[in-house]
C-alpha cells in the first residue's frame, strides 16, 4: 500500500469513529426520551393553523444558482492545481489562466445578462 493511500486510511478510520460517536448520541436520545404518541403530534407545523395542501413549492431561481455553482466548482478543479504549481508553470501558466478566467467570467456575465442573478 503506498503512502498516498495510507493517509486516506486514517481518514477512513476517522469517518468510522465519528459516525459511531454521533450514532451513540442519537441512540442515547432514543433510549432516554419519553414516547407518548398522539395524532396531533404528527401534524406538520404551519404556524398554529391546520396544514393546507401537500408538498410546498419553492422558487426555481434557487436551482439556477445551484447550476451556476456547479460551473464554478468544476472550475476550481482547474484553478487549484494551477495555483499549486504556479512557479513551475511561470508566464505560460499566467497567460493560460488569464484566458481561462476571462472565458469563465464571460459565462457569468451571460447569466447576469439573462437576468439569472436577479431577484423579484
Amino acid at each position: 500500500m503506498t503512502e498516498f493511500y495510507r493517509q486516506y486510511l486514517s481518514v477512513a478510520v476517522l469517518i468510522g469513529a465519528a459516525a459511531l460517536m454521533f450514532g451513540a448520541m442519537l441512540g442515547a436520545g432514543r433510549l432516554l426520551r419519553p414516547n407518548r404518541p398522539q395524532p396531533e403530534k404528527f401534524i406538520t407545523y404551519e404556524a398554529g393553523s391546520d396544514p393546507v395542501g401537500g408538498w410546498g413549492q419553492s422558487n426555481v431561481r434557487y436551482y439556477v444558482y445551484a447550476l451556476l455553482f456547479v460551473m464554478f466548482d468544476v472550475e476550481a478543479v482547474f484553478i487549484f492545481p494551477w495555483a499549486v504549481n504556479l512557479k513551475s508553470l511561470g508566464v505560460y501558466g499566467l497567460i493560460e489562466m488569464a484566458v481561462f478566467i476571462i472565458v469563465l467570467t464571460l459565462g457569468l456575465v451571460y447569466a447576469w445578462r439573462k437576468g439569472v442573478l436577479r431577484w423579484a
Binding site: A28, W55, G56, F69, F72, I101, L117
Partner: protein, 404 residues
C-alpha cells in the same frame, strides 16, 4: 521572505512504518480527544457568545447554571436528551433520520484537517497534532462543507412541510454561492504556499522573529484573499449578518422546524462546529496556525516548547477569531436576501479572481526576478481593465427591468 519546504511531503509520519493495530489505536484516540475538545469548545463558545452579547447589550446573560452560568449550554443539552420527539406523518422517514447525521458528520470531519499543534512523539511513533493530513488538503474542507449542504437540503425536503423546504432551499443556495467565493479566495493562499496540505501551509508560516507576523503569516501578503475568506466563511456558516437559514420572521424557524429533542441539538451542534472549524481554518490559512514565539526561558527543544506552546498559540488565535464572530453578531443588522446573493456573485467572486491573478503575477515575478514596482501596477491595471470591460456588458438596473 523565505518560505520553508515541507519536511513531511508524504503527510503524517505516523504511517511511515506501515499500518498495525497501534497506529489505528493512535488514530482512534486522537479522534476521541478532538471530538471531546470540539464538543467542549462548542459548549464554551455558546456560553461565551451569550455572555459577551449580554455584556454588549447591558444585560447579565446566563448566570444560574454553575459559576457565571458556564454550565448553561450543558444544561440545555441534557434537557434536549429528555425531550419527546415525533416524526411528522408526512415526512420521508429514512431521509428525515439521516439528515442530522449527515450535517454533524460533515461538520466534524471538516475539522480533521486543522493542525492544532506541532508534532508529538510517543514511544517509537511520531505524529502530527492533527487528525488527518490528506494530500488534497484544503479541498477536503470544500468537500465537507459541500456535504454539509446535503444535511440542510435533505432536512428541509424530507420534513414534508412548507416552511422547512423554503428555509432549506434558501440556506443551501446561500451556502453554495459563498462556497464558490470561498474556494476562489483560498487560491490566493495557494499561490503563495504552493501546497494544498494544511500542515505544509502552516509550516510555511513558521515564526522566526517578530517580523514573521507580517512577512511569514499570510494575512498580510494575501490580505485580499483574507477579507474575501472572512466574508465568505461568515455567510457559509450562516452567521449574522448573513443568518438566513434561521429566520423566525419569514420562515417560522428554518430548515429544522420539524426537528426536536436530540436531533435538533445535533443540528445546532453542527452549526456551531462549522463556526469553530471555519475560524480554525482562517487561523490555519492566514494566521500561522500553531506557530508563534517559543518561551525563551525554557529549553527550546523541551516538551513544553514543542507540545504545549504551539497548542496554546493555536487556541489563543482561535478564540480571538471567535470573539470577532461574536462581535459581528452583536453589532451588525441582517442583510436582505437579494443583497446577500448579489454580494456573493457580483462582488466577491470577481474580486477573488482579480486577487488570484494579481498575486499570481507577483509570485511569478518574484520567482523570475522581475521589477515588481513596474509589474505589480501593470498587472493590477490590466486586470481592472479586463474586469471593467466585462462589467460593461452587464445590464444596469433599467435594462433588467426590460428583460423582465
Amino acid at each position: 521572505m523565505t518560505r520553508l519546504a515541507n519536511p513531511f511531503p508524504g503527510g503524517d509520519p505516523l504511517f511511515n512504518h506501515g499500518l498495525d493495530l497501534t497506529v489505528i489505536g493512535f488514530v482512534i484516540v486522537k479522534t476521541l480527544i478532538v471530538f471531546g475538545l470540539l464538543l467542549v469548545s462548542v459548549l464554551l463558545y455558546i456560553w461565551f457568545m451569550r455572555k459577551v452579547i449580554a455584556d454588549m447589550q447591558n444585560r447579565i446573560g446566563p448566570d444560574q447554571a454553575g459559576p457565571f452560568g458556564i454550565l448553561q449550554t450543558l444544561a440545555d443539552g441534557i434537557k434536549l436528551f429528555f425531550k419527546e420527539h415525533s416524526t411528522p406523518a408526512r415526512a420521508d422517514r429514512p431521509v428525515y433520520l439521516l439528515a442530522p447525521f449527515v450535517s454533524a458528520l460533515a461538520a466534524f470531519l471538516a475539522f480533521a484537517i486543522v493542525p492544532f499543534g506541532g508534532i508529538a512523539r510517543l514511544g517509537t511513533h511520531t505524529t502530527f497534532l492533527q487528525l488527518a493530513d490528506p494530500p488534497v488538503g484544503v479541498l477536503w474542507l470544500l468537500a465537507m462543507s459541500g456535504i454539509g449542504v446535503y444535511g440542510v437540503m435533505l432536512a428541509g425536503w424530507s420534513s414534508g412541510s412548507k416552511y422547512p423546504l423554503l428555509g432549506s432551499v434558501r440556506a443551501s443556495a446561500q451556502v453554495l454561492s459563498y462556497e464558490a467565493a470561498m474556494g476562489l479566495s483560498i487560491v490566493g493562499v495557494l499561490v503563495h504556499t504552493g501546497t494544498l496540505s494544511t500542515r505544509g501551509i502552516v509550516l510555511q508560516q513558521t515564526w522566526q522573529n517578530w517580523h514573521s507576523f507580517v512577512s511569514q503569516w499570510l494575512w498580510l501578503p494575501a490580505i485580499g484573499a483574507f477579507v474575501i475568506f472572512l466574508i465568505a466563511a461568515t455567510a457559509e456558516t450562516n452567521h449574522p449578518p448573513f443568518d438566513f437559514s434561521e429566520a423566525e420572521e419569514e420562515l417560522a424557524g428554518g430548515y429544522h422546524i420539524e426537528y426536536g429533542g436530540i436531533r435538533f441539538a445535533i443540528f445546532y451542534l453542527a452549526e456551531f462546529m462549522n463556526m469553530i472549524t471555519m475560524s480554525a481554518i482562517a487561523v490555519t490559512l492566514f494566521l500561522g496556525g500553531p506557530s508563534g514565539p517559543k518561551l525563551g526561558f525554557l529549553n527550546q527543544g523541551g516538551w513544553v516548547n514543542v507540545w504545549i506552546v504551539p497548542v496554546f498559540w493555536f487556541l489563543l488565535k482561535l478564540w480571538v477569531v471567535l470573539y470577532a464572530t461574536v462581535w459581528l453578531r452583536a453589532s451588525l443588522p441582517r442583510l436582505r436576501y437579494d443583497l446577500l446573493m448579489d454580494l456573493g456573485w457580483k462582488v466577491l467572486i470577481e474580486a477573488a479572481f482579480l486577487w488570484a491573478m494579481v498575486t499570481g503575477v507577483i509570485v511569478v515575478g518574484q520567482d523570475q526576478h522581475w521589477n515588481l514596482w513596474i509589474v505589480t501596477p501593470a498587472a493590477a491595471v490590466a486586470a481592472l481593465l479586463v474586469y471593467g470591460f466585462l462589467m460593461m456588458c452587464v445590464p444596469g438596473k433599467r435594462e433588467l427591468e426590460d428583460i423582465r
